[in-house]
Symmetry: C2
Subunit: 412 residues, 2 copies
Amino acid sequence: MLETLGINAKKAAQGLATADTDIKNRALLAIADALIKNKDYIIERNCVDLENGKNAGLNAGLLDRLMLDGERIKGIADGCISVSKLDDPCGILLDEVTRPNGLVIKKVSCPMGVIGIIFEARPNVTVDAAALCLKSGNAVILRGGKEAIESNKALMSIMQDAVQSVGLPRLSVQLVEDTSRQSSVELMKMKDYLDCLIPRGSAGLIRAVVENSTVPVIETGSGNCHIYVDESADINMAARIIFNAKTQRISVCNACESLVIHSAVIGKALPAIKAELDKKHVVIRGDERARSVCPDIEAASEADFGTEYLDYIISVKTVDSLDEAIEHINKYSTGHSESIITENEENAREFMQRIDSSSVYHNASTRFTDGGEFGLGAEIGISTQKLHARGPMGLRELTTTKYLIFGNGQIR
Amino acid sequence: MLETLGINAKKAAQGLATADTDIKNRALLAIADALIKNKDYIIERNCVDLENGKNAGLNAGLLDRLMLDGERIKGIADGCISVSKLDDPCGILLDEVTRPNGLVIKKVSCPMGVIGIIFEARPNVTVDAAALCLKSGNAVILRGGKEAIESNKALMSIMQDAVQSVGLPRLSVQLVEDTSRQSSVELMKMKDYLDCLIPRGSAGLIRAVVENSTVPVIETGSGNCHIYVDESADINMAARIIFNAKTQRISVCNACESLVIHSAVIGKALPAIKAELDKKHVVIRGDERARSVCPDIEAASEADFGTEYLDYIISVKTVDSLDEAIEHINKYSTGHSESIITENEENAREFMQRIDSSSVYHNASTRFTDGGEFGLGAEIGISTQKLHARGPMGLRELTTTKYLIFGNGQIR
């Protein structure tokens, strides 16, 4: 039954494709306004989700992600206002060439058309994602988790009213109300209606989408991020950066999960790093050489090096060269974010060139891989694939391009 | 057993990622040279394919595509020399920003890593595709059709020798020698080794890849291209352009397959167009109104409007407005190339904005959608999807990007 949503979305997309920046911004401001005005209703519907969640035995963390209060709704509304202030990513002339035969060929940015987004329990994603799709001129079909369905339905009807109120197609934003596994699979096969599908959530969700979708997918999020402490590292800087990258927020994809340390400095570096990590009781799992330096850390298995803990745990691998470090990281990383700590510019250059990840740092925390931190203004996700977008994705990554060719009768 | 090729390719890709432009160009010139030197051997192996093809009952067209002679081999070698002269698409600084915290963030182009290409009977693709992948710093795994396997094996060993002779990894270019359906499916699932998969060939092949691949795919090629003759068209120009777009080469994806004609001019336009198309005995299949103008044309069924004939056949749909034309085209086109013939600039603008295709023309033949004609210097295919690349793809489209972030101890 999702086909109806597809048909609606394709029709709405045609209206959006010619919508000017002003009307799109007015839609975003109308949504922000309506969210605030209807906050009691949103909270009421959210309470139903919370009640159902408690009955279903959701843990405190999940219930917290699910919860909407006045402040959070204000935050979501402010997000829409911010997006309205960003530059319109559509209609940008990217290239222009006049061919010897007189054809003028222009490459311009334009909306993709219809974007599908599959996500989990956070109802704020419903509005954030819709706002970014609207601003980039795309119709969107959102498929959130069943835990947030009542909140999502409320948010969706408020957004649809607001979008319609400024004169844009009401069904520019739509929600899949059926939260069965079936509906999710059906969405992944809607190649005739969706131009792109973006999964946001757990590694399991993302894998399921990549494996089952016939719609082109942008793979996001999973991050087994490494920091390499080079032979020439400033050890104090290394310890400070690692403490930040591991502990500032453990549940995020750009948190550091694994250290690689040069054998020439591990004797000095690991105790200093451990002293920092001990402040937050981080469990360290090291290889044999790491344990010979700090005997009280746990033993790392091979599986540890490939694990994204999202927890107060970190693995340590000892290497004898920059080459070995690069090889280890390219083997185990998910291509998200990696950092080298070194005072040696040549080693930094080599590391940055050879590490096969979306974002490669020299002397900084991996935690900066984020649309806001990169100055994109907003973020729809962090791509770990190489097609279309890589790293934090903003509005520009929600557009495609089109060639416009102007002739006066040219034939070949 | 394709896993070995995957492992080899990933290793070769690491060597290629740091290869400078000069060595990549020398590899291309060495390939060109080796092809000429070994042309007798190539022709000998090609004869085996031709013999097998005749025995298997391949038609004359397929046998012609399969055939290599001295002149064709020279053409393939010249292609490698041309690619060596193109700008290196890697290492280009695309964006640079210094953030308030002092982080310097650079976005640079870089190779994707490993590209898979699945194609059919033309052995020239083996070298063309390998040359483009090499120049863009990518390792490539080629999987050609069984009809060309002996030619492909010969071309591959010649290329591997040449690549190795300049000091690049020998296995930068590899061929899947098993041409069973199985090997093709296996390649589509090699997500751990392939960064991108490009199918080149029939609509059936492309569909199979899109439906089965877990590797990100760039969909190429299928083109149900339309030309719309507007109310304000220059009828002579329309007839000339349509004759060219339909008949200059019927078997290609940018050939015109369907006409959409405004009812206000069909009485004058269709006879003029028909007079041109009759010169090459093109079968015209029209709707009722078209047939009332030219009673001797065939009747078009609904299926005709969705058919990419690749033959001397064209369909005609009559519409009463620009809106109706746009709606019809967006419904039936494959998103490849469409053209409007009109003297009305406003109609042209609206058509070009609202038509949802990779390349939209005003007063020119759809046959120009081509890497060479667009000035890209070379072409790996024409993307009809919206992710990553849309329209003709050159070297730039075989690269991805990477963020390099330079800090001095920044933490979040």
